[in-house]
C-alpha cells in the first residue's frame, strides 16, 4: 500500500507501484485537471508540483511520490485565485485551454524558485511546456504580471 498526499488529502494505492502518477491522478483519484499530452515528459501538460518542484506526472510513478506532497491544479488555490491564475485570466491567455493547467503549475513553480524572473528567464523556464494553439506571448506576459503583482 502506497500513501500519497494529494492536495492535502491522504490517498492510498495498492495497485501497480510503477503506475505513472498521471494516470493515478486522472483515472483512479478522479483529478482530471492534470492532462495527458505525450507520456514522455516532452510537453508539460501533466505538470504537478511535488514538494515545491515542478514534476512531469507522466514519467513519475506513484511509488516515486510515496509519502510526499503532490499539488495539482485543483489544489493550487482554494478559490482559484493564485496570482498566476489571476494573471492568466487578466491576460486572457488560453485558447483551447488543454495545456493550461500544466503551464500554470510550471509558472507557479517557476515563481517559487525565482519570484522576479526576467522575460528571458520566463521564456527559458516555460520552454518545457508546449502550447499548440500558440499562447506563448500571453503566457510570458501573464507570468510577468503574476511576478509583479496582480
Amino acid at each position: 500500500m502506497i500513501k500519497v498526499k494529494i492536495n492535502g488529502q491522504e490517498q492510498n494505492w495498492d495497485g501497480d507501484p510503477d503506475l505513472p502518477l498521471l494516470w493515478f491522478l486522472r483515472d483512479e483519484a478522479g483529478l482530471t485537471g492534470t492532462k495527458y499530452g505525450c507520456g514522455q515528459a516532452l510537453c508539460g501538460a501533466c505538470t504537478v508540483i511535488v514538494d515545491k518542484q515542478a514534476v512531469r506526472a507522466c514519467i513519475t510513478s506513484v511509488n516515486d511520490v510515496a509519502g510526499r506532497e503532490v499539488t495539482t491544479i485543483e489544489g493550487l488555490h482554494p478559490t482559484g485565485d493564485h496570482p498566476v491564475q489571476k494573471a492568466w485570466r487578466q491576460v486572457n491567455v488560453p485558447q483551447c485551454g488543454f495545456c493550461q493547467a500544466g503551464q500554470i503549475m510550471q509558472a507557479a513553480a517557476l515563481l517559487m524558485d525565482n519570484p522576479k524572473p526576467s522575460h528571458d528567464q520566463i521564456r527559458e523556464g516555460m520552454a518545457g511546456n508546449i502550447c499548440r494553439c500558440g499562447c506563448y506571448q500571453r503566457i510570458e506576459n501573464a507570468v510577468h504580471l503574476a511576478s509583479t503583482g496582480v
Binding site: 501497480d16 483515472d27 499530452g37 486572457n92 485558447q95 499562447c135
Partner: protein, 770 residues
C-alpha cells in the same frame, strides 16, 4: 420557424450527389457538389440580409428559431445554446454573445449551454472551414432579435400598450412614456406564449448601439474553469463502471491484423481484456482502422498492456510508401503538363518568348495536427441506444456515423460535445468516437478510448504532401507576363474514393486557381498524384503549400529584378479590381462571389496596412532581415511581415511579427488577435520543424521529440495584430485558419533578406547551418 420544414426531404440530399461512395461529410467540404441544391436560402429572405452566405448549402443548413437557442428563466438567467465546438477560437463565447447583444441581455446574466449533436434541431454544426462567425453572424442576430421581440410583445400586452412603445434595454423591457419596467425573468413565462415573429419583420440593432460586438471586452466563458482545472475536455469524461482502452492499430494505413498473442498483456496488473477491433478497408473514410484493444482499469495499465502485445500485421497495398521516393515522383510530375484548371492567354508561348524565366519548385511535406489533447472518446452503448462524449468538430456527422456503424437509428444516438483540447481539422474525423462505440457495444460497458501521442502521429489524417512548381516569365522591363503553376499533391478525396489522383475543387480553390495577380498569361495545372496514407484537413489546408510557393516566388521575382519585395507584390496584385478567374468551379470557400468576391483592393489594403504599422523598410542589424507575404483564404485577406534573426551558426529566431487582417465585420477582436498570434506560432512550427515522413509504409516520427513544434523559447518575441475596420455591411469572413498560410513565405523571404539563401523546401531544418 425552423428552416428545415421537412427533414425527410433532406435525406434525399445524398442521392443528388453524383460522386458515389463519398460520405456526406466529405460532400460538405465541396466534393462532388453538383450545384443548385440550396436549402435555406428560400427561407432566409434577401430583405433580412445585407449579404448572402453559403450557410444554407451546408448539410442541414441554418436554423433561426429562438425557441431552440434561447431560454429565459424566471430568475432572469438567460441560457443561450452554443451549437459549434469550442477548440480554442472562442466560438462558444462569440456566437452566444451575438444573440445576447441583439436581445439586449446582460452578459453577466447569460449562461452558455453546449448543444449536443442534432443538426435537424440546430442546423449545421461542423466547426471547420473558418465558417462559424461567417455563417452565423446574421442568423444569431435574428435569433436574438426574435427573442427580444417576444419579450417586448409580452410586456406590451401586460401593460396594454402598443409593442412599438416598449423597448428592451439591458435585461429589462421599458415603457418610457409611463416609466414602467419589467425584468426579462418576470416576462419569461408570458414571452414563451408569444408567437415567434417572422424573420422579415425583425428589426436588428443599429451597430452603433452595440455593447459587446466588435469591442473585445468579454472574456471566454470557460476562462475560470480552464485556469482552475475544472474545464471538461473529452479526455476528462468519467462514467461509473467505465473501462479504459488503448488500441494497437495497423502501422501501415490499409494494413490488416494477421494474428495476435494477448498472454503477456493479460499479465499486466490492471489489464482486464484484450479484444480485436473491427477495421474498414482502405480507403476507410472516417471509419476505424481496426486493430487490437487492451481494456484496463486505468489508461496507464492499458498502455503497458498494449506494449506487451505480440502482433503480426499484413501491411497491405501501402507497405511500400516511402517519402524520399514519393517526393521524386511529385517533382517529376510537376515538370510535365497536367490537367489544366485555369487558362488565360497563352502561358506556354509567353514563357517561351519571355526575357527571363524564373522557376521555383517548392516542397511541403506531410504534417500532423498534434492537438494537445490527442483523440479520445467515451461511449456508452446499451442495446440499440448509444451515448457518446467526445471532442468532435462535427457533432452531427459523428451522430450519423455512430448510427451507421452500430446499425441503429440516428435518433437513438446522443453525441455530447465536450471542450476540444485543440482540433485543427483532426477532430472533424470521428474515427475515435466510432472505436469507442464499437468497444462499448462489445463489452456492454462504458468505454473510454484514449489515443497516445504516438497513435496520433502514426495513425492520423495527415496534411497532404506537395510539390508546387511555378514558372514566371518576365519581359525586358521586369514585368511578369507569364505564370504557370503546377500543383501536385494527393487529395483529401482519396480518403473517401479509391483511385483519386486529382485534387478536388475545395483544394485547387485554395490559392491555385484563385491566384489574384494581374498577369496576361496564366496556366494553373494539376498533374496526377495518388495517395498512400490517410489525407485530411489541417488548419488552412492547401493554402499552406500554395501561399508558400506563390509568395516565395514573389520574393524570387523581387530578388531577380532587384526590386523591393512589397513593391513587387503590389505590382503583381495590380489594379484594385474584382478578379474573376476563368475556372469551371472556383469554389470560393463555398461562398457566393457576389458577397465574397476576390477583391484586390482589400488585398492591397492589408499589404499597405501591415507595411505601415509593421514599419516595412526599417533598418535591421546585420544577420536580420524582413520578409512580407499576403494571402486570401477563407474569404479573408491577411498580410504578414516577419523579422528574422540568424546567428553565425545558422540558428533562427523571430524577434517580431506584424500581421494585418481584413475579416470583414467581426465579433471579438480580442479573440481574432489570439488566433493570429497562434497562427504565427503554428506557421513557424511547420516552417522550422514540421515534417512527417514514411518508410516502408510507416510514419517515422513518434512524439514531440522527433515531430517538434515551437516552444516558448523559440517563439516570436512580439506578434502585433492589426484588424482592418469593416465597411458597412461587409460580410464577416474567416479567422481561425487564414493566419497560417502567409507566415512561412514571409519567414522564407526574410531569411533571404538576412542571408541571401533561398529556401524552397520545408521544413527549414538544418538548411541554414554551415
Amino acid at each position: 420557424m425552423n428552416f428545415i420544414d421537412n427533414p425527410g426531404k433532406l435525406r434525399g440530399f445524398e442521392k443528388n450527389i453524383k460522386v458515389e461512395k463519398v460520405s456526406r461529410r466529405s460532400i460538405l467540404k465541396g466534393l462532388g457538389i453538383t450545384g443548385g441544391f440550396v436549402l435555406a436560402a428560400p427561407v432566409m429572405s434577401r430583405q433580412a440580409l445585407a449579404y448572402e452566405t453559403g450557410a444554407g448549402k451546408m448539410p442541414h443548413g441554418v436554423v433561426v428559431d429562438p425557441r431552440v437557442f434561447v431560454s429565459v428563466g424566471s430568475d432572469g438567467i438567460v441560457t443561450i445554446v452554443g451549437h459549434r465546438s469550442e477548440m480554442g477560437t472562442g466560438v462558444r463565447t462569440s456566437l452566444p454573445l451575438i444573440v445576447a447583444e441583439e436581445m439586449e441581455a446582460d452578459w453577466s446574466r447569460v449562461k452558455v449551454q453546449q448543444a449536443h449533436g442534432d443538426e435537424v434541431k440546430f442546423g449545421n454544426q461542423d466547426t471547420d472551414g473558418s465558417r462559424s462567425t461567417r455563417h452565423y453572424l446574421i442568423p444569431m442576430r435574428q435569433i436574438g432579435a426574435s427573442a427580444r421581440t417576444m419579450l417586448e410583445q409580452a410586456a406590451a400586452k401586460r401593460w396594454g400598450v402598443p409593442a412599438t412603445e416598449v423597448k428592451a434595454v439591458n435585461h429589462e423591457v421599458v415603457h418610457s412614456a409611463s416609466g414602467r419596467k419589467r425584468g426579462f425573468g418576470e416576462l419569461a413565462a408570458d414571452a414563451a406564449k408569444e408567437s415567434v415573429p417572422s424573420i422579415e419583420g425583425l428589426k436588428l440593432k443599429d451597430p452603433k448601439d452595440f455593447r459587446y460586438l466588435g469591442k473585445g471586452q468579454v472574456g471566454i466563458v470557460d476562462l475560470h474553469d480552464i485556469t482552475t482545472g475544472k474545464a471538461r475536455y473529452g479526455a476528462d469524461v468519467r462514467l461509473p463502471g467505465m473501462k479504459y482502452a488503448v488500441i494497437a492499430r495497423p502501422p501501415v494505413t490499409g494494413g490488416k491484423l494477421v494474428s495476435f498473442d494477448p498472454d503477456a498483456a493479460l499479465k499486466v496488473p490492471g489489464v482486464e481484456k484484450v479484444l480485436k477491433v473491427q477495421g474498414w478497408p482502405w480507403p476507410s473514410k472516417f471509419q476505424p482502422l481496426g486493430g487490437v484493444a487492451v481494456i484496463a482499469r486505468n489508461t496507464g495499465a492499458a498502455i503497458k498492456g498494449r506494449d506487451a502485445l505480440k502482433l503480426v500485421w499484413d501491411d497491405g497495398p501501402n507497405g511500400k510508401y516511402d517519402s524520399v521516393a514519393y517526393r521524386k515522383e511529385l517533382e517529376e510530375a510537376s515538370r510535365k503538363p497536367g490537367l489544366v484548371l485555369r487558362k488565360e492567354g497563352d502561358a506556354d508561348a509567353a514563357l517561351k518568348g519571355a526575357d527571363k524565366v524564373i522557376v521555383g519548385e517548392y516542397y511541403v511535406p506531410h504534417l500532423a495536427h498534434v492537438s494537445m489533447e490527442p483523440p479520445v472518446a467515451v461511449a456508452d452503448v446499451k442495446g440499440d441506444k448509444a451515448e457518446i462524449w467526445a471532442p468532435v468538430q462535427s457533432p452531427g456527422g459523428t451522430r450519423e456515423d455512430v448510427a451507421k456503424t452500430l446499425g441503429i437509428p440516428e435518433g437513438n444516438v446522443t453525441v455530447n460535445v465536450t471542450l476540444l483540447g485543440g482540433g485543427f481539422g483532426r477532430k472533424s474525423k470521428c474515427d475515435f468516437a466510432l472505436e469507442a462505440a464499437l468497444l462499448s457495444k462489445e463489452l456492454s460497458a462504458p468505454v473510454k478510448v484514449q489515443w497516445t501521442r504516438e497513435d496520433d502521429i502514426h495513425n492520423g489524417f495527415l496534411h497532404t504532401v506537395s510539390v508546387e512548381r511555378i514558372e514566371a516569365g518576365l519581359d525586358k522591363s521586369g514585368k511578369v507576363v507569364a505564370w504557370r503553376h503546377r500543383s501536385v499533391a494527393p487529395s483529401i478525396a482519396s480518403t473517401f474514393a479509391a483511385g483519386t489522383v486529382h485534387q478536388a475543387p475545395f483544394e485547387i480553390g485554395m490559392g491555385l486557381v484563385d491566384m489574384p495577380f494581374e498577369i496576361a498569361n496564366i496556366s494553373c495545372e494539376n498533374p496526377e498524384a495518388a495517395a498512400f496514407t490517410r489525407i485530411g484537413w489541417f488548419r488552412s489546408v492547401s493554402n499552406i503549400p500554395r501561399a508558400f510557393a506563390v509568395q516565395s516566388m514573389v520574393g524570387e521575382i523581387a530578388q531577380a529584378t532587384g526590386r523591393d519585395q512589397k513593391e513587387t507584390l503590389l505590382a503583381l496584385i495590380g489594379s484594385p479590381r474584382i478578379v474573376k478567374p476563368e475556372v469551371k468551379d472556383l469554389w470560393n470557400y463555398g461562398e457566393p462571389q457576389d458577397s465574397y468576391p476576390i477583391d484586390t483592393a482589400r488585398l492591397r489594403k492589408v499589404v499597405e496596412l501591415v507595411a505601415e504599422k509593421g514599419e516595412w523598410g526599417r533598418k535591421v542589424p546585420k544577420g536580420r532581415g524582413l520578409g512580407i507575404a499576403v494571402h486570401r483564404s477563407f474569404v479573408s485577406y491577411i498580410a504578414t511581415i516577419v523579422e528574422v534573426a540568424i546567428d553565425d551558426k545558422g540558428k533562427l529566431t523571430v524577434p517580431r511579427v506584424d500581421t494585418a487582417i481584413d475579416c470583414g465585420t467581426y465579433v471579438n477582436p480580442e479573440r481574432i488577435a489570439s488566433q493570429i498570434e497562434g497562427a504565427a506560432i503554428m506557421g513557424l512550427s511547420l516552417a522550422k520543424y514540421g515534417e512527417i515522413t514514411f518508410k516502408d509504409g510507416k510514419v517515422q516520427q513518434k512524439n514531440f521529440d522527433d515531430f517538434q513544434v515551437v516552444r516558448m523559447d523559440d517563439s516570436p518575441v512580439v506578434t502585433n495584430v492589426y484588424i482592418v475596420p469593416p465597411g458597412p455591411d461587409t460580410p464577416p469572413s474567416g479567422v481561425g485558419e487564414p493566419g497560417v498560410p502567409p507566415f512561412a513565405p514571409a519567414l522564407i523571404n526574410a531569411i533571404f533578406a538576412a542571408t541571401g539563401k533561398r529556401i524552397r523546401s520545408l521544413p527549414i531544418g538544418k538548411q541554414l547551418e554551415a
